[in-house]
Amino acid sequence: MALLVILTASACQGPVSALDPAGQGAADIAWITWVMIAGTLFFMALMTGLWLHAVYRRSDRPLKLSNTTVLVGGGLVLPLVVITLLLVYGIRSGHSMLPIGAPDLEIRVTAYQWFWEFEYSDDQGRSLTLVDELHLPLGQRIDFHIDTADVIHSFWIPALGGKMDAIPGRTNTLRLVPTRAGQFGGQCAEFCGARHAHMHFAVTVHEPEDFQRWLDTAFEDAP
């Protein structure tokens, strides 16, 4: 059992794991994931136990509870309570991940078959375009404005937060807030044709001052 726990815990680590969060959104979601997994295991044990008891019980005595109690209690009240709690949490948590309030940094993302372009710009009119390589500052609110040049793709950095589709004719905005510096992976999550499997990109989260230094140098070097 202990071995299993250790195995599972180590299995959750990784540069693209949603369960090894390095961003605000991802951390929130990882937490509710564990809560819901626990709930799922509890209800599976409950239902399996009830079934096995009902089929293999020794005594012939029927249940003391009335049928209406079972149907109302198990079929209506139980799911209603659980679902309501979950929804209330989900609404609050989802709302906190929306791009509300001014961002600290904005990056234009354009998806192509089969690579990513990331465009940085500043108020002095300098701009910089990177391919399949993303650099982010720690602790800042970053808005990604996501667009596509061809088919639908989906922009996803599991360690930082949820994904957002790139849809022709639209620009979608995704906010991420990195909370841990390091190297992570991102990838296309919507099937986009032949080389979909190879459409990943590298993400580096820097300390804010390191990031600024990197950005200044990169602007200088940009053609």
Partner: protein, 834 residues
């Protein structure tokens, strides 16, 4: 009747209901034969789909595998999903329902036996298009969900996407035929005394499932038709640069796609609801709760399609509605589970092989349901969407909620279907192999998704922590396959070498177990009057009624194949149906329809047009066979009852068939209007350069003509009822139908911009074209009805030939007025402002 008379009677019936030998098998229409063909063919597709999944698991077993390249892999995963959903799951439930419904409800056949035969051929031909394409290496490769613009002409120029759109639409023709057949049959064709309240739960489940198909399949068919037109003729319905919207495809697809999951689950739950009471040795607890839960599932399942689209950028507030609906659909499912548990608790459960498989169902499906609730939570969905977590979830739902109940059902009903006794040991081995293999494949796959593996990648690099998870899944997958092989082997051995089963080996209470094992092609020698939901437990006389000819319609007068029609609610017999015998027309019509589809596939549009005209001709020839050429008095129906024949009754099955067909058609039309308004409101690149601003005169003419056409049919029905000739009314309908269709065609040519220029012109042309075709068909029906009258098929008492097309013309008038109102009115209302 004396035993000798009875024996002769049975022989006579067996001869009447028999399917002809040799080539005559192609003319089969008997529901047991057609049902079994559906079942067998769907199992063939299950094996094909399973082999494809083995290729997938082999490729993903290790990182960087060179076994398959992306071109092969993309075809394989697309075909795996497509085959399993469209060619295995849906046809299997159709086959089971076609086979069992008359046996459960107490009928000799379905009300339109030739329609289900037609459905089978459409399924076979449509499925063959996909299979042939796969072996030719040009299978669809844009995913079973076919998202535009990846599936559109620009990014998928090959024939692959056309194969999907055309093959699947062909197969969906059979789903629509099934839905119409089953709604009409469950409502009208039951044994005497089987009120809705006494109907076995299977009947309720199938009724609601069929109604869900009536409403659920038209959006998919519309989407496929629009996308195929876009690919073939460059009408830009989904092209964002020209006023279309790729998200419209996603809405149409999931508007079908989510109800589809319940369309698959409900019939499996139906089997569970039939088995549990038998093994609990008592009637089901909470019959009315379950009925309410089925109906609630039907409604809620149409309100949650957007949970497949949580990451496309829809406003958060709107997502919450769909998030809530997706979770609340768990409540009717929970009600069913607790009703089953309570039944087991209140009864004296007998462990058995089917019960073992039902345990597998409970364990796996509960897990799939709970992970479904997880996925309905918006923030969690943002992470888990399009990852292997979803792959694991959907297999828990579909294998748990569909395959396991049907494995139980196979063991449960096989003694009835084959006459062979059940065996235990091999079935148990197969169960444990399937159960362990399934969990070993999919349980940790939830984790594979959460640690970041997206769906539909043909390879993955080392070092991301996915290696052992994938390897374990591949090993589990092979155990699962061995389990299924053991299951099928067991069945084959039993069918070949099994001992004979006693009648009703499980001591069940429902009507089907009163039949011979296997059942005779006519099912019941006589149809019983029922007073209970479990007649075999509660009614001592039911066996005598059926076997000794004491029930309804025990004889074979005039060589008619007769069955009872009842009042939909009370189950009181109100008519005698005369069933049609074997015919090649379903095969011929389906084959000609195949010419239409194959012509389209290869861009031979002249061939398509010929096929469509020939198929219409075959359909009319088919319609010609029905009906009577003289009036009959009420006929003796047995048990002291005299009943009219169906062609002389107001709500004959044919009338119900047209009503349900028009609901299908109306759903298609409403979805089309949704698309029209959706593009207008949401799509980028609007407004178009020019709206429809001319042609008021033609529009008014078309509107008035369609009203007059409907009025013409009305006039024909009234003069016929009064004993006069219906020809003046039919003549008016014929003429005005043609005028309306010409006026609409003229509008498309003169008042709408070129449909390739903008999605607005494309969708407007399509809408007007839909109306023109309907007006033209009204005219055809008027001419057909006039011919039928000339040949004596119509009298004051036999008016169905006039009343059925009257429904069509009235529908056409209504949709024409609404459509023209939108086309002419909206631009002046909204256009100038936009």
């Amino acid at each position: 009747m004396t035993p000798a008379q009875l024996k002769q009677q049975r022989q006579e019936m067996a001869r009447l209901y028999a399917t002809p030998p040799g080539w005559g098998r192609l003319a089969a229409v008997n529901h047991s034969v057609i049902g079994l063909r559906f079942i067998v063919l769907s199992l063939v597709f299950f094996i094909i789909g399973g082999l494809l999944s083995m290729l997938i698991r082999a490729q993903l077993a290790i990182p960087g595998n060179q076994f398959l390249d992306h071109a092969a892999y993309n075809q394989i995963f697309t075909m795996h999903g497509t085959v399993m959903m469209f060619l295995f799951a849906i046809p299997l439930i159709e086959g089971l329902a076609l086979y069992f419904i008359p046996k459960f409800l107490g009928a000799r056949d379905l009300c339109f036996p030739r329609l289900s035969a037609f459905g089978f051929w459409c399924y076979l031909f449509g499925g063959s298009i996909l299979l042939v394409a796969m072996f030719a290496g040009v299978a669809p490769d844009s995913g079973w969900f076919m998202y535009t613009p990846l599936s559109s002409g620009q990014y998928s120029p090959g024939i692959n996407s056309d194969v999907w759109l055309i093959g699947i639409t062909f197969v969906e023709v059979s789903a629509i035929a099934f839905a119409i057949e089953l709604v009409a049959t469950v409502l009208k064709v039951r044994s005497g005394g089987m009120s809705l309240n006494r109907m076995p739960l299977w009947g309720w489940y199938i009724l609601i499932t069929a109604l869900m198909m009536v409403v659920g399949f038209p959006p998919l068919i519309l989407g496929s038709v629009l996308l195929e037109i876009e690919r073939a003729f460059s009408w830009p319905f989904f092209d964002a640069a020209l006023g279309g919207d790729p998200l419209l495809w996603q809405h149409l697809f999931w508007l079908f796609g989510h109800p589809e999951v319940y369309i698959i689950f409900l019939p499996a739950a139906a089997a569970v609801s039939m088995m549990i009471p038998t093994f609990a040795r008592r009637p089901i607890v909470g019959y009315h709760w379950i009925v309410a839960a089925i109906i609630a599932t039907g409604f809620i399942s149409f309100g949650l399609w957007v949970h497949h689209m949580f990451t496309v950028g829809i406003p958060h507030l709107a997502l919450l509605f769909f998030s809530a609906a997706s979770m609340f659909v768990a409540i009717p499912t929970a009600i069913q589970f607790f009703a089953w548990l309570a039944t087991l608790w209140q009864g004296k459960p007998v462990p058995s092989l089917p019960m073992l498989y039902l345990f597998g169902f409970l364990f796996i499906f509960v897990c799939g349901g709970l992970t479904g609730v997880m996925l309905a939570l918006v923030p969690f969905n943002w992470q888990a969407h399009d990852t292997y977590f979803v792959v694991a979830h959907l297999h828990y739902v579909l294998i748990g909620g569909f395959v396991f109940p049907l494995l139980a059902a196979a063991h449960y009903w096989l003694p009835l279907m084959s006459g062979k006794a059940a065996s235990e040991s091999m079935g148990k081995w197969a169960f444990w192999l399937i159960f362990i293999g399934f969990n070993a494949t999919f349980l940790h796959m939830h984790l594979t998704g959460l640690v970041g593996m997206p769906r539909r990648i043909y390879t993955y690099p080392e070092g991301l922590g996915w290696e052992w998870l994938n390897l374990a899944s591949s090993i589990g997958g092979f155990i699962l396959t061995i389990g299924f092989a053991a299951f099928f082997l067991d069945l084959i051995v039993r069918l070949r070498a099994g001992g004979d089963s006693p009648r009703n080996p499980w001591a069940a209470g429902t009507l089907e177990w009163s039949l011979d094992h296997p059942p005779a092609p006519y099912n019941f020698t006589a149809l019983p009057e029922l007073t209970s939901r479990e007649p075999l437990w509660d009614q001592d006389d039911v066996d005598d009624q059926i076997r000794k000819g004491e029930g309804y319609l025990p004889d074979t007068r005039r060589g008619w194949q007769e069955t009872l029609g009842v009042h939909p609610v009370t189950g009181k017999p109100d008519q005698i149906l005369i069933l049609p015998g074997p015919s090649y027309l379903p095969l011929i019509t389906a084959a000609l329809l195949g010419v239409f589809f194959v012509g389209f596939l290869f861009g031979l549009y002249w061939l398509s047009a010929l096929g469509a005209i020939a198929a219409l001709g075959a359909a009319l020839r088919w319609a010609w066979c029905n009906g009577l050429t003289r009036d009959f008095d009420d006929q003796d129906a047995g048990r002291g009852l005299s009943l009219p024949l169906a062609p002389q009754v107001h709500d004959a099955p044919g009338w119900w068939g047209m009503v349900v067909g028009l609901v299908v058609n109306g759903t298609f039309y409403i979805t089309l209007l949704f698309g029209y308004l959706y593009l207008w409101a949401v799509a980028p690149a609007w407004p178009p350069e020019q709206f429809v601003e001319s042609g008021r005169l033609a529009a008014v003419l078309a509107g008035l003509a369609s009203l007059a056409c409907s009025g013409g049919f009305h006039l024909a029905v009234r003069s016929n009822a009064a004993g006069h000739s219906p020809l003046p009314g039919l003549g008016l309908a014929l003429l005005t139908g043609l005028v309306a269709s010409l006026a609409l065609a003229w509008q498309i040519a003169h008042d709408v911009a070129s449909p390739t220029s903008h999605a607005y012109a494309a969708v407007t042309s399509f809408l007007l074209g839909y109306l023109a075709v309907h007006a033209f068909l009204s005219a055809v029906m008027a001419g057909f009805a006039a011919l039928r009258w000339r040949h004596g098929y119509v009298s004051a008492r036999r008016s169905l030939d006039l009343r059925v097309p009257r429904l069509w013309a009235a529908y056409t008038a209504a949709v024409t007025l609404v459509g023209l109102g939108l086309v002419q009115g909206l631009p002046s209302l909204l256009g100038s402002g936009g």
